[in-house]
Each structure stands twice: as C-alpha cells, then as structure tokens.
C-alpha cells in the first residue's frame, strides 16, 4: 500500500463516509423495538462517545504528529501488547465489513434484486474495493472526495423528501434509563468507526488549525444521521419497528403522489456509494493492521487473507443473517468495551504523559 499522505479535508470526508451503513438502514428499527423513539438518544449518546474517541485521536496526533500508531503502542506498551491491540483492530474491521456487506446485501435484495444477486454483488464490489485497497489510502480518499458531495446531496434529498410524508412529534422520554443504557450497550458495535483514524494516523497531514475542519465534517455526518433518525421516528412512530430500511422508508413518497415516480432510487444509490467506500476503508484498516503485525508480508497476502476469511465467515458461519445480527448485539458489545473504550483510554493516557521538552502540535 502506497504511503502518500491525505489532507485534513479528505480525513473529514472519511469521517462522514464512516458513518456505518447499518445506522441508516436497520439500526433505527431495531432500536425502536427496544426503546421506542428514544432510540434517537441512544444514537446521539453513542455518537457523542465516538466524538470523544475522535478527540483522543486529535490528542494523539498532536503529541505524535508523524508517528505510526503501531510504533506509538510498541514504544509505550511493548511489542506484544501492540500486536494484540492491532489484532483486535483487525477483527473489528473484519466484522464491521461483514456486517456492512450483509446488511446492504439484504437491503439490495429486498429493494432491487430478489435472486442470483450474490454473484453479481461479489463481481461488482470486491475487485473494485480490493483495487482501492492496493492503491492506498490516498486513492481511496481522492475517490471519496470526488463522490462526497453526491453522497451528501443524496442524504439531504432523502431527508428533504421525508418532509412530504408529514409525521408528528415522536414520543420521546418514554423509557427508563436502564433500558436506554442496555440498548446503547447492545448496539455499540454499530459505532466506533473513527477507530480507523488511529490506523491511518501517520498518513494524515493536519496543519495548524485544520483539526477544526475534520471536526466540522464529522459533525455534518452526525447531524445528518440524527436528522434522519428524528424524521424516521416522526413519520413512522409506533410502526417504526416494521421499517427495516430507514433511509429508503423515509424517502418513499405517499401513494397519492406516486405519479411522480419512485424516488427510492436516490436512497439506493446513496447507500451503494457509501457501502463501497465503507468497505474499502474497513478492508484498508484490516490490511494495514495485518501488515503492522506481520511486517514481512505484503499487501497481496493481506488482501488474500481478508477475502478468504471474509467468505469463510460469510458463507460458512454467518450466512444466517439473524444469527449474525444477534451476535452483534450479544457478544460484540463486550469486544467493543476493549476496542472502543479501553484502547482509546490507553491512547489518551499515552498522549497525556508528556515528556519534558516535547510540545503538542497545534492542530486546532
């Protein structure tokens, strides 16, 4: 993988793209079946936590502007612990990509194709994303830059169309704090996307004051997500649990207006584009972590390992979608405590233990 650097603007766009596809599709309905419209607060809370992780990234970047994440961990925690942490990151990215792929595949099967779709999906997705991974993070981020405004426009249009669907105020504050916390814990795996920034931190160039740019992009992504969620709960209210593809459901036009044609296609294109970029980024994260653990191997080994593991898991163990979704809710949250809580906490401590004479780079 080529080691060309990416700008703060490109990093910001990656932050928007990383908002997990699941959050736009099945997550809102899953949350509704547990905590009703208060699912909005669950997402807001988990995204706030993600912002804290982003803050940790900024802290680390300010302290070690040019260092590799692995080297920082190795210097402070030792080689073995550093490799264990990266192995956990590998697993995290592998399962994130699995979940993204299976959710989106199910969505496309429901919306567009009903049979023989898997082969088409494999042929049209994997060569492209693997090629992106080979080309490196700069190529990925430049492609994202090219399509970024199309994706954002797609999201904005979908949210805009949702206002033609009417809807009232969702009934908020109806659940107990205990349900809120347990639901947040259950769905923690659908978040934690900014962890990728740690893996690519040495390839990000943040000049003085440019941290704000990344933060603004991240906030745009979060705002869009929360807006979509509030519209979804406003429109569907008690039936939100029945609507498993939030972004499409909010943009489906009422039957009285179907004369203007079906506009779901906008949501579908947006989701497909986001999926491409998300999968590329997750696979890149997987391969990058793998190469840090096994520096003697090259990116072909990493990609081949990823593809083999992916398909073995997808078709062998996780072909049962329900089982997979259940696993993400029952087992992965514990994994997320380590990856998305303990690791950033450790990193924050490392970043805050300043050596004499070494100053923080000003990125804000």
């Amino acid at each position: 993988m080529k080691d060309l650097k990416i700008s703060a603007r490109q990093t910001g766009m990656i932050c928007v793209m990383l908002i997990f596809a699941n959050a736009f599709l099945t997550l809102p309905s899953l949350l509704h079946s547990e905590v009703g419209a208060d699912g909005f607060f669950v997402v807001a809370g988990l995204m706030f936590f993600d912002l804290l992780v982003l803050g940790t990234f900024f802290l680390l970047k300010a302290r070690f502007p040019d260092d590799k994440f692995y080297d920082i961990l190795k210097d402070h925690l030792g080689k073995i612990l550093a490799k264990i942490i990266l192995a956990l990151f590998m697993i995290f990215f592998l399962f994130k990509s699995l979940l993204a792929y299976s959710v989106v595949l199910l969505f496309l099967k429901q919306q567009v194709y009903q049979d023989q779709f898997e082969l088409i999906a494999i042929i049209s997705i994997f060569p492209v994303i693997c090629h992106g991974v080979f080309c490196g993070i700069r190529t990925i981020s430049r492609t994202i830059e090219l399509f970024f405004y199309i994706v954002v426009a797609g999201l904005v249009v979908c949210i805009g169309i949702s206002f033609t669907n009417g809807g009232g105020m969702p009934q908020l504050f109806q659940t107990q704090i205990q349900s809120f916390l347990s639901s947040s814990f259950k769905h923690a795996f659908s978040f934690g996307d900014y962890l990728l920034l740690f893996i690519i931190m040495d390839k990000i160039e943040i000049k003085k004051g440019q941290g704000r740019k990344i933060l603004s992009f991240a906030l745009v992504g979060i705002t869009l997500m929360l807006l979509l969620l509030i519209r979804f709960y406003s429109i569907y209210q008690v039936t939100a649990f029945m609507h498993t593809n939030a972004i499409v459901d909010i943009s489906s036009v009422p039957a009285q207006f179907t004369g203007i044609g079906r506009l779901d296609i906008i949501a579908m294109i947006t989701v497909m584009m986001m999926t491409y970029f998300q999968l590329e980024l997750f696979i890149y994260g997987f391969c990058s972590s793998f190469l840090d653990i096994f520096p003697k191997l090259n990116n072909i080994h990493a990609v081949v390992l990823y593809i083999i593991t992916f398909f073995v898991l997808y078709y062998g163990l996780l072909s049962q979608y329900d089982f997979f979704i259940d696993s993400t809710e029952n087992y992965f949250p514990y994994f997320m405590i380590v990856v998305n809580f303990l690791v950033p906490l450790t990193v924050a401590i490392i970043a805050l233990t300043k050596k004499k004479g070494k100053e923080y780079e000003k990125i804000f």
Binding site: Q110, I120, I123, S124, P127, V128, H131, G168, M169, Q171, F173, Q174, Y236, Q237, V238, T239, M242, H243, S252, V253, P254, A255, Q256, T258
Partner: protein, 480 residues
C-alpha cells in the same frame, strides 16, 4: 503490442472491466424482458372464502398494442394462507408477481370480521407490498370489487387510487394507507379509520350492505348458502385463476339474495343503528330491492359508489361504519379539512327570510389545549372558520355574492356554531361508544406528560380514554 500488454498490466482495473463486460453483456442482451416473466400488480384484494384466503390481483400485463389502453385483468387464487394464495396465483398466471406497484389493497367485507393484521403481515413484510398502498374495504368481496374497478377506467376514465386520493384529501382528510392502519393497530388505542367504497348493482341495490344487518355469513361465497358461490370459477381451479364473467355473476347471485333476505327482515332497524333515520330508510329500501331482484341480478353489472363513508377498525376488526355526517363531525377538529360545506336552515334576519344558507369552509385554524379540571382532563378546541357563502335557498334563491351576504350576522354565527357542535358531538358519541380514540387524545396526553400522562396511566380501561375526557368546542366564524 508489447507496450499495450505492459499498459494493460499496469491497469488491472481494465481487466476487471473487461471481465464484467464479458460476463454481463451477453446476459443482458439475451435475457428475456422482465414483462415476460413478471406481472405487475396494481391492486390487491383479499377475501375469506370458507376457511381459505382468496387473493385477487388486478394485474397489468404490459403488451404492445396500437392503442394506449392498458390490459388489466383480475386473477384470483385461494390458499390456506396469503403466501399459499399468492403462490397459486403465480402458477395460475404463469408469471412471477411483483407487488411493489400495488397502489390499492382492498379487504373484503367478511375478512374484517376477524383480526386482519396477521393476514396482512406477510404481504407487507415479505411480499414487498408497500405500506403506502391505499387500504380500503368494501361491502362485498374484494374480488368483485376489483372487477368492478376495471369499469371505472373504461367508463369514466377514473382509477381506483384517484378516487380514494380525492377522499383522503377532501373527505376523510386522514390517511387511509396500510401504514395508517398499522399505526392505529400498534398504538395504545388499537383503532384506525379505513376508507370504504360501496359496490352496488347497477339498479342501485346494495350487494351485501352492512346496514342491512347481514349476519351469519362469514365468508365471501359459499357460506351464505343461497347463491351457489362454491361453484365459481376460482373454486374449481383449486387456487387457479378465475373466469371473470362467471365468478362475478355467481357471487352477485349469492350476495344479493343474501342481502334481500336480511334486508327485508331487518333493514329498518339496522339502518337506524348505523346511520339514523335516513340510513334506516336506505337499509330498508336496499334490502327490499335486492330481495326482490335477488334471482335476477346474476348478469347485472356492478358499480362502485363513493359516498364518503369510512370504517372504524379496532383490534384489526371492523366495529362500525361511520357515515359522511360523522366524518364531517370529526373533521371539525382537523385543521387540514378545508372545503367542507356547512348548511344552516331557517335563517330570518334583515336580508333573509326562512332561507337555507350553505357555506364552504375556506380557511381553518384549530388550537387544541389540554387542561385539567377537578381531576378530569378537558380538551379545549378553538376553531376559527373562514366561511364563504356559496348558496342561498329561500326567498333570495339566486346566488349573489354581494358584500351584504358575506357578513355573518350573530344569528347565522350561532346557527353555524350549533350545527358544528351538534355534528362534533355526534362524532364523539360514536367514538366513545366504540371506545376508539382515532382522534389521538391518547397521544396528546402522553406527549403533554406530567399530570395528563399520570392520569392516563392510572386509567383502568385505557381504551376508554374518550369517556374520561371532556371536550369544549369554541367556534369562531369569519367570512372570507
């Protein structure tokens, strides 16, 4: 050439592109058109026939023809459940069925005697029937209704969904989609309003009117016992497609003779229950007519009548038919309901002598506020109506839009207020009787929180919320 291969090697994506072209171009070129494999369903009808479900699909099969006429046909099939019936329908027509274009879903009269939601669940969750589909019911079989709907287009150039869309916008002023049904069904009140279109014989006799107090029949054909419905084309097919003329005639036979019996016996009473005096007369007449024509209507044509009625559904079952008057009463508190007419009679003042004035509501603002008085919640509704005088009957029977007529005297205002209050009270009485809070007082109380939420949660019978809330209606009229 060597250079070409070198470049080729440098750009592996080109190879991927070529592979994709090689794989998919022949498939795309040689695969048959989707219309050969798929039938586009524009409306779905669901009936209960004995112990089976009958699914009727108003199907549009795209074919090239020199005119612009669409070729629609009703294909019906029976099965033990919806999935089975849909499967049989696919076999019958030799095409796969796509329901995502189905704009209308009609539920037959008899199916609404049981909880309909589990039956619909398969269609909406698995078979991709959009929740935005217009959801209506009728007084007869959904299959006959769909057949009659074909003539709407042929005779009047109307489409079923357009007809209902008008009602949704101007008559019910509330959604009557599958989604709105589910919203009511899954809410605490478990009630919703569903659009209703009547199917009548061309001689205006009601086919199986609900007002006629029909009882005993629990399915679309066969069980009524007198019409030989079991012999219909769809029956012998074991779930295959049914011949249009045949089945239409037969079920007409069965249901009209049924209506004749029950209407003749109890039409007056049942009419009185559901719609007051007028309904009573209509029930009696219809019953009588259909009774007398029971043996002769088998070949008669049927038509769809839209008279603005809605059906009140509770726990997924039909509990009451709300006529246009009650719908108007409910619309008083609906800000979106514009264009309704308010008629006041016996107006005597400086300008009019014993006149009947008809006003159209051109503007409306509704302010709702919940108050608590002596431990009881009160819903206060301040309605401001912008009225336009559109017709005068009486001494000045010509329509004059002069300024003096647009002034609303105190007498007229009082009469309008009394008329609105009477209408609103009638509507609330009906909802209270059925314990169906379709006006969402529960939602208002829950979102108001505090003592209202507490009051609601303490209620023993939460369904009976309307009987525990008092209403104050203030009408303020302005001329437009």
């Amino acid at each position: 050439m060597k250079r070409f291969f070198k470049n080729f090697k440098k750009t592996p994506m080109l190879l991927v592109f070529i592979i994709i072209l090689v794989f998919f171009t022949p498939i795309a070129i040689f695969s048959p058109g989707e219309n050969k494999d798929r039938a586009v369903v524009t409306a779905v009808g669901i009936d209960r026939v004995d112990d089976e479900i009958e699914l009727s699909l108003l199907t549009f099969i795209p074919t090239a023809n020199p005119t612009y006429n669409e070729t629609n046909s009703v294909i019906s099939a029976k099965g033990s459940c919806i999935a089975d019936a849909l499967y049989q329908a696919q076999i019958a027509m030799g095409k796969r069925v796509g329901l995502s274009h189905a704009r209308t879903t009609v539920v037959g009269h008899f199916l609404l005697e049981e909880d309909i939601a589990p039956t619909l669940d398969y269609l909406s969750r698995i078979a991709s029937l959009s929740e935005n589909t217009i959801f209506i019911t009728t007084n007869s079989c959904a299959k006959d209704f769909l057949k009659a709907s074909q003539t709407l287009g042929e005779d009047l150039g109307l489409k079923l969904d357009q007809l209902i869309a008008y009602d949704v916008k101007n008559v019910y002023v509330t959604d009557t989609t599958l989604e709105s049904f589910y919203k009511g069904y899954f809410s605490d009140v478990r009630a919703s309003l569903v659009g209703y279109l009547e199917l009548v014989d061309e001689n205006d006799a009601d086919v199986a009117s609900m007002e006629s107090g029909q009882s005993g029949s629990t399915s679309c054909s066969g069980s009524s016992g007198s019409g030989g419905g079991g012999e219909s084309g769809s029956d012998d097919g074991g779930g295959s497609g049914s011949g249009e003329g045949e089945s239409s005639g037969e079920s007409s036979d069965s249901s009209s003779s049924d209506g004749g019996q029950s209407g003749g016996n109890s039409g007056g009473d049942a009419g009185g229950n559901s719609g007051g005096e007028e309904g009573g007369e209509a029930g009696g007449e219809n019953g009588g007519e259909s009774g007398s024509s029971g043996q002769t209507t088998s070949e008669s044509k049927r038509k769809i009548v839209n008279d603005g009625k809605v059906v009140l559904i509770k726990d997924g079952k039909r509990v009451e038919m709300l006529d246009e008057k009650i719908v108007e009463g409910l619309n008083i508190m609906n800000q979106k309901a514009i264009g309704q007419l308010i008629a006041v009679e016996h107006i005597e003042d400086d300008i009019f002598k014993d006149a009947k004035l008809t006003y159209a509501v051109r503007k409306k603002t509704v302010r709702q506020s919940l108050k608590m008085q002596n431990g009881n919640p009160i819903l206060s509704l301040d309605v401001t109506l912008g009225l336009e005088l559109i017709e005068i009957q009486g001494e000045k029977d010509d329509l004059k839009l002069n300024s003096e007529f647009t002034v609303l005297s105190k007498k007229i205002k009082d009469k309008i207020e009394a008329e609105c209050k009477r209408s609103f009270a009638g509507a609330i009485k009906e909802l209270r009787k059925n314990k169906a809070d379709v006006i969402n007082v529960t939602g208002m109380m829950m979102s108001s929180g505090g003592k209202f939420k507490e009051f609601y949660e303490k209620l023993e019978n939460k369904e009976d919320i309307l009987n525990n809330v008092n209403f104050i209606l203030n009408i303020n009229c302005k001329s437009e």
